[in-house]
Amino acid sequence: MNQEPRGQPSGPAGRAVGEATASQDVGPAHRPLVVIVDDDQDVRMALAELLESVSIDATTFASTRDWLESDVVDRPGCLVLDVRMPGSSGLDLQHHLARNGDPKPIIFLTGHGDIPMTVQAMKAGAVDFLTKPVRDQTLLDAVATGIDRDLTQRAKARAVKRHLDLLAALTPREHQVLAHVAHGRLNKQIAFELGISQITVKLHRGNVMRKMQVNSVGELIRAWEAIPRDLRERRS
């Protein structure tokens, strides 16, 4: 392992998804951290220094493997990755992360941009594909975009998690009613569909609104839509 910690020491918190809202991300564990992976020591030190000069925490690794094997705390941020390195390449890491459902934004650096590789990386969701030597502002802009993207993703993931937790508290019948409401059906249609009275449907709707902690049907539908389809469509 070849970790060269820089900037703020990371706090003791582990994966805190869902436990705090974005506005509460102020502790050291929630400060953005940029992970730099480049086999060239001079380059990775230079990049870390640049980020430090604008008060962004950075940590550096000589290889993707070193990073994967490290116990660096998961913090919002992004990866700055040389596309070609001994052992596992930057693109390999991108695939690896995608397979593991880790959407950490990646900024690729390359000695010479070859187009097929750039296309491949961008299609797979890279934030940017920059050619060395990279201008400071170009990199900082990309890093800012990467961090924003990660913060947004994390906020979204937290919201989904919260909605899912709330959804889990619904009874099967309430869940059914919610699904029908989300599909825009009227109470009487739902009553007919489920073979219950409209009064009962209204009762369930009230419970759903309360349990999902929303104040309007619009809010309820947005919450429902925010949850990925495969997670919200429960047994029916």
Binding site: D42, L47, H112, V134, R135, D136
Partner: protein, 432 residues
């Protein structure tokens, strides 16, 4: 004997009656023996090797005196008394020569060669001392590569050989042959030159293949320089400039610039044509340098390189650039073999070890498809190639460079799969 080149000295005999020394059981008459000797002399006379008969009994006398004085280290003694060597050059006499000797010295008159030996040492005066030393030490032969000044003022490269007489032979005949090797040396030099030119041409072509790799290698320090410089400016243009940071970053900029320069120097050494040198080299250093040229190729093709160095590897005597060339060539070969076969396992093992007789072995083993058995015997032939692109000169050059270094190179298929190229170079000195 008429018709054998007028003016050549005729074989002489009987000038001194004591020169024929029939032994007791030799029942031939003196005249029969004399006739034998004449025939022998005719052979000598016409032999194409330049020959001298020298009467060195004057030196014998001197040596006896010196031994009497208890001198044993004759070389040091002669160093201290150069006048003795000078005197010997005049006292030791050429008694006979043959036609080839006359031709070698381009003498107008063969008689010009029948005189004190001084003229033999005109272009290599110090050799006289060594010839005397060998004589004093009772050796039978002394051979030295030397230079000879011909009578018409040219200097030739020669192999000068002396055979000293020992009883019961005739002590008045020391036998000298001088072989003119000027043309041979010139041809060898031309050959070496051609080899170096060829190696250089192959290097330049190899650098072409490595252009991407080299560009990448130079870009790393440049990238570090640009970023460090820009960060430095950021610190300096603040309302309260951070001088300490700027200083630290500037030092790193200088180090990276130096590194970029080193890379360019390595490339330049590869690209320039220079006379091959012979220096004591640590093969591990040569490998380090060679790897700079191929590292990017290895990474780009996802090939892992592992190195193993045995202990106590002696240095080798050689030309740094040419040996680097061999290594880069072998590595490129392996890389291309792995890439072309799209091998699943992608590994190259570089091993340096010491072999018996203080030899150094270097092996490059790859996980490519290996070499077809039928091709094994021709991989080092010029213009032999199995690659889609390539001229087939790389391995031929490796072979010629390694041979020029007194070593050997061989190709084989490894029992565990893949090709293995082994280079053996004579060790120079034990490593420290």
């Amino acid at each position: 004997m008429a018709g054998h080149g007028a003016g050549f000295p005729q074989p002489r005999h009987g000038k001194k009656g004591a020169r024929l020394r029939p032994t007791m059981n030799d029942d031939r008459t003196i005249s029969e023996r004399a006739a034998d000797e004449d025939r022998f002399r005719m052979l000598i006379h016409h032999t194409p090797t330049p020959l001298w008969y020298v009467d060195a009994r004057g030196a014998d006398q001197l040596f006896q005196d010196l031994r009497g004085q208890g001198v044993t280290d004759i070389a040091s003694y002669l160093d201290a008394h150069p006048e003795l060597v000078e005197a010997a050059k005049d006292e030791v006499l050429v008694t006979e020569i043959n036609r080839a000797a006359v031709a070698l010295f381009r003498a107008a008159d063969p008689a010009d060669l029948i005189r004190p030996v001084r003229y033999l040492f005109a272009a290599t005066p110090e050799m006289a001392k060594r010839v005397m030393t060998a004589h004093f030490e009772g050796r039978r032969n002394y051979v030295e590569q030397a230079r000879m000044a011909t009578f018409d003022g040219e200097v030739r490269d020669v192999v000068f050989s002396v055979t000293y007489p020992a009883p019961p032979e005739r002590l008045d005949i020391t036998f000298i042959t001088i072989e003119d090797i000027t043309d041979r040396l010139r041809t060898e030099a031309q050959l070496r030159h051609l080899q170096a030119d060829f190696a250089h041409a192959a290097r330049v072509s190899m650098l072409g293949e490595l252009a991407t790799s080299i560009a990448h290698e130079v870009k790393q320090p440049l990238a570090a320089i640009v970023t460090n410089a820009e960060t430095s400016l950021r610190w300096l243009t603040r309302t309260e400039p951070n001088i300490a940071k700027a200083r630290e970053l500037t030092a790193r900029i200088a180090a990276s610039a130096q590194r970029a320069n080193d890379i360019i120097q390595r490339v330049r050494a590869m690209a320039t044509k220079q006379e091959p040198e012979r220096r004591a080299l640590n093969l591990a250093d040569v490998i380090d340098e060679a790897l700079h040229f191929v590292r990017h190729d290895l990474d780009a093709r996802g090939i892992t390189l592992s190195r193993a160095n045995g202990g106590g590897i002696p240095s080798v005597l050689g030309d740094r650039v040419q040996l680097q060339q061999v290594l880069v060539n072998l590595l490129l070969n392996s890389i291309q073999a792995i890439a072309q076969a799209d091998a699943a396992e992608r590994r190259i093992e570089l091993k340096v070890d010491v072999a018996p007789a203080n030899d150094v072995t270097l092996s490059v083993h790859d996980t490519g498809p290996g070499v077809a058995e039928a091709d094994l015997s021709q991989v080092f032939d010029g213009f032999f190639t199995t690659k889609d692109t390539g001229m087939g000169i790389g391995l031929a050059i490796c072979h010629s460079i390694i041979t020029e270094h007194g070593g050997q190179i061989a190709a084989a298929n490894h029992p565990a799969g893949g090709a293995v190229f082994r280079v053996i170079l004579p060790g120079h000195e034990q490593s420290p």
